[in-house]
Subunit: 131 residues, 2 copies
Amino acid sequence: MQRNARLVPQRKRYLFVCVNRRPDGTPKGSCAAHGAVEIHAALKSELAARGLVKTEVRPCTSSCLDLCWAGPAIAVEPDGYFYGRVTLGDVPEIVASLERGDRVERLVLPPNDFDEKTSAPSLPLPLKAPS
Amino acid sequence: MQRNARLVPQRKRYLFVCVNRRPDGTPKGSCAAHGAVEIHAALKSELAARGLVKTEVRPCTSSCLDLCWAGPAIAVEPDGYFYGRVTLGDVPEIVASLERGDRVERLVLPPNDFDEKTSAPSLPLPLKAPS
């Protein structure tokens, strides 16, 4: 069984998806309020389906990356760039890009987004289903 | 006020301290059972005291890094190395090293530690205080 004989290595990449949740109505927002938990789950599921999680990319969650206003935010390491304003609809493109070894440029946060005062606008909050 | 005028940048480094907790007695162990939550808090406090958190190093927590047997584990990014078997007593040395821009070699996990089958032994579990 070659699969079992191969040792589990350090992955080529680690994703750190911020899943911090702030109270509803916090002005700067939070990644979880914009669906980050679901985005992490979708990344995990999609990467596993493609057989990438044991060698290529490990999808982790993280505490606050100090990018609340530009969330959902994901640190892509060791490349050292951050995706921001990620939606569930972006997951297939992110995974395909990871598989190719390149990145989704439109989602990469530029320097101004690292400061709340100079950041581009936040994503609108998702509509809540009636309870 | 120069401090307020300076924009918050992407940090030079991000620490991802695994704080995953598995049920007591799980053979492969878990980072939280070895004090990872306290280690993250100490790193945060020490880095803040040295004025490093807004520009140099952001200490975050993460979900499981798949290094349970070699924990507490910390991903140091974007450098792309992992510290393992970290104790609270190692925190001052780690912070001093981050400030200098080098690393604590004795704590850096070698490739064999990324697989449970070839890893060096885990740290002993801390003694519990009588309740």
